[in-house]
């Protein structure tokens, strides 16, 4: 290995990355725009960190952090001026890759016949700046759902395949975060084009940046950056490691798929149903929830019709509607459907968990229902039942 390093001096440099200041981030946004990307990143707006198209890095939420709790989200000023020291906001990248409203095709009556035309609008080429490791995993989960099966969602594929992912590792988890439990953070997993770790301390505000793809390397080469010094790398790594120890929430240490499959009749579902408003907020903010419904519309001539696809929620009564009524009429069954799917049957359907531990569902639940608390209660129930069953047998 050391011989390799001697031959190819650029290799250790690429691995160890570069360091740049705020001007580097500004240059990054400029380079991306110059390369034709629609840059989307976090910005502070309307009392929240939201994802929006960025014209310059000045729009990043420098100096804004967040306070998160079950049913509570507040912006908080930070004195270190950090841009990315804020955990998940109300939106996720699914708003861009799998939008809430998409026209799929249109149908026209022409000369007594029917002509159906797929919507071929070319998507913008997105550069997502500030993707969290948990959200990077969420994108991978949606990739599997929408393009990993027998049928590919070509619209999603078009938006996704052109998208550049710039991850920022997490050094500031929220009180509702549990990515460590789900194995999705706070360090970045695979799949990024560039990854940054933000450090803001007495030695200055700087970003340790590495590439994960050829395009990432090309962009990196255009940035005003210097080889990463060991101190910055060490501080950055320590920040991510510390974040792992500061998760606000944790899932019970159990096989969650098994736990969900084995607790379908647990009394806890009645308990949570007494609190759940079936508003569907958790599904809207979830970065992996993918369910949609369709809407067919005609114009005033009656000869032109369109098929639109809209986000849907398993909390909606109409979601399971069959002739004769909905399959899941009670809120108990609808909450159970959501949680058992997310943590359990998702494995059966798509080979992974549907939960990445971002905590959005906890924050944006108007009554503060906490998926980790519900999982723990189900786990406790199975634990309390096991000895009883054994003693009955004995």
């Amino acid at each position: 290995m050391s011989a390799d390093a001697d031959v190819n001096v650029s290799r250790p440099l690429a691995c160890e990355g570069l360091v740049m200041g705020k001007e580097g981030v500004a240059a990054l946004v400029d380079v991306l725009i110059r390369r034709g990307f629609t840059v989307v990143g976090p910005t502070a707006r309307d009392g929240a960190i939201v994802l929006a198209e960025l014209r310059s890095a000045d729009e990043l939420p420098y100096g804004w952090g967040v306070e998160l709790e079950a049913g509570r989200y507040r912006l908080r000023e930070r004195f270190d001026g950090a841009a990315f020291a804020n955990a998940a906001g109300p939106q996720s990248w699914k708003s861009f890759l799998h939008p809430a409203r998409v026209r799929e095709w249109s149908a026209d009556r022409v000369d007594g016949g029917l002509v159906i035309t797929a919507d071929q609008a070319a998507p913008p080429r997105y550069a997502f700046l500030g993707v969290r490791p948990c959200d990077l995993r969420a994108i991978a989960v949606q990739d599997r759902v929408l393009t990993g099966g027998a049928y590919r969602d070509s619209g999603y594929e078009g938006r996704r395949s052109g998208a550049l992912l710039i991850v920022v590792e997490c050094t500031e988890p929220g009180a509702t975060c549990f990515c460590v439990s789900m194995g999705t953070g706070p360090a970045a997993g695979p799949g990024y084009d560039l990854v940054m770790t933000e450090v803001a301390d007495e030695d200055g505000h700087r970003f340790w940046i590495r590439s994960g793809s050829r395009e990432g390397s090309e962009i990196l080469a255009e940035l005003p950056a210097r080889p990463a010094d060991p101190e910055t790398r060490e501080t950055a790594r320590a920040g991510v490691t510390a974040a792992a120890d500061r998760m606000g929430r944790t899932m019970p240490e159990a096989d969650l798929r098994e736990l969900m499959a084995g607790t379908l009749d647990a009394p806890r579902w009645d308990d949570v149903a007494g609190r759940c408003l079936t508003c569907g907020n958790c599904t809207m903010v979830c970065p992996t929830c993918f369910c949609t419904t369709t809407e067919d519309v005609t114009d005033l001539t009656g000869d032109h019709a369109e098929r639109w696809r809209l986000w849907d929620s398993c909390f909606d009564l109409a979601f399971s509607q069959l002739h004769g009524g909905p399959v899941r009429a009670s809120s108990r069954s609808r909450y159970r459907q959501w949680m058992t799917h997310k943590l359990g049957t998702w494995y059966d359907q798509f080979g992974s968990s549907g939960c990445v531990g971002c905590g959005r569902c906890i924050v944006w639940c108007p009554v503060g229902i906490d998926i980790t608390e519900e999982a723990a209660a189900l786990h406790d129930w199975t634990q309390s039942r096991t000895p009883a069953t054994e003693s009955e047998r004995g």
């Binding site: 799929e104 095709w105 149908a107 009556r109 007594g112 016949g113 029917l114 002509v115 159906i116 035309t117 797929a118 759902v145 929408l146 393009t147 099966g149 027998a150 049928y151 590919r152 969602d153 070509s154 594929e157 499959a261 379908l264 009749d265 993918f290 369910c291 949609t292 419904t293 369709t294 067919d296 519309v297 005609t298 009656g302 019709a305 098929r307 849907d312 398993c314 979601f319 399971s320 509607q321 069959l322 002739h323 399959v327 899941r328 009429a329 009670s330 108990r332 069954s333 459907q337 058992t340 799917h341 359990g344 049957t345 059966d348 359907q349």
Partner: protein, 272 residues
């Protein structure tokens, strides 16, 4: 892997009334044709501007050589489909889902149990078994309907006589009805069921399938040889809309036909 295609235009070649609220619609391609359907597979049928519904093929080759679907008017789209006339156009996509496993039935007695319009997805099975009668043991068809007037394919069922053992029961008899009255599972007692040689294909309301499958298993038919066709809401048929979940299954992808051994425990959970 295939990119999700928009529907293809199909023309209505003929329609026939099955009951007061149920029609069979024969569709022929207006241009490019879909791949062939297997018995038990379904299509998404698009009524212009109204919407799209999943419907299993009720015959793979109708009088005009097209695909036949039998539709009961229960909602806006199915009502629009029931109003179609010859020459009208629809959008059609498919074939989707798993069909009946007829290979598993080769060499076995074939028992079909249908509730109401549940006979529709099973009709192509009757056709297929009659086409290759030597490959299978005796074929028996048990049908349950709400009333005699709700019985579909009445003339065709009569034409099967001699080659197919047919038993019909109704929930509520009408004047003049001389057949059986009661649930379809009661008809099982009329058969000389050879459980170890029987392959059963069941389609109807979920409660009817649950009772039928349990009755068959209690008589000794192995659960793997009981196939059921399950129904849930579907908006895409490609595994992307999420509506058709039954526990771990996405029924558009893993169904609609599944072995009872895979779903027996799921059918016992209320509102799953």
């Amino acid at each position: 892997m295939t990119t999700v295609p928009p529907p293809l235009p199909y023309r209505v070649a003929g329609t026939s009334a099955e009951t007061a609220d149920t029609r069979s619609i024969e569709l022929v391609p207006a241009g490019r044709a879909l791949p062939p359907f297997a018995p038990g597979q379904f299509a998404m049928i698009y009524a212009f501007g109204v919407g799209e519904v999943p419907v299993s093929a009720s015959a793979l080759r109708g009088r005009h050589g097209g695909l036949v679907h039998t539709v009961r008017a229960v909602g806006a789209v199915s009502a629009a489909l029931c109003r179609l006339r010859p020459g009208d156009n629809v959008g059609l996509s498919g074939p989707y889902g798993t069909g009946w496993d007829l290979e598993a039935a080769v060499g076995h007695d074939v028992l079909i149990v249908a509730g109401g319009i549940g006979l529709a997805p099973l009709r192509p099975v009757v056709h297929a078994v009659l086409d290759r009668q030597a490959a299978y043991g005796p074929l028996a068809v048990l049908v349950g309907a709400r009333t005699p007037a709700d019985l579909v394919y009445r003339d065709e069922i009569a034409s099967w006589s001699g080659r197919v053992r047919v038993e019909v029961t109704v929930d509520r008899p009408a004047p003049g009805w001389r057949g059986a009255v009661g649930v379809v599972t009661a008809l099982l007692d009329r058969l000389d069921l050879r459980p170890d040689r029987t392959c059963a294909l069941v389609c109807g309301p979920e409660v009817m399938m649950r009772h039928t499958a349990r009755a068959l298993v209690s008589r000794g038919v192995v659960p793997q040889r009981v196939q059921v066709s399950l129904e849930r809401t579907m908006h895409c048929a490609t595994g992307h809309c999420g509506h058709c979940q039954l526990g771990p299954l996405l029924l558009c992808r893993d169904g609609p036909v599944v072995g009872y051994d895979r779903v027996a425990h799921l059918l016992l959970v209320r509102e799953l």
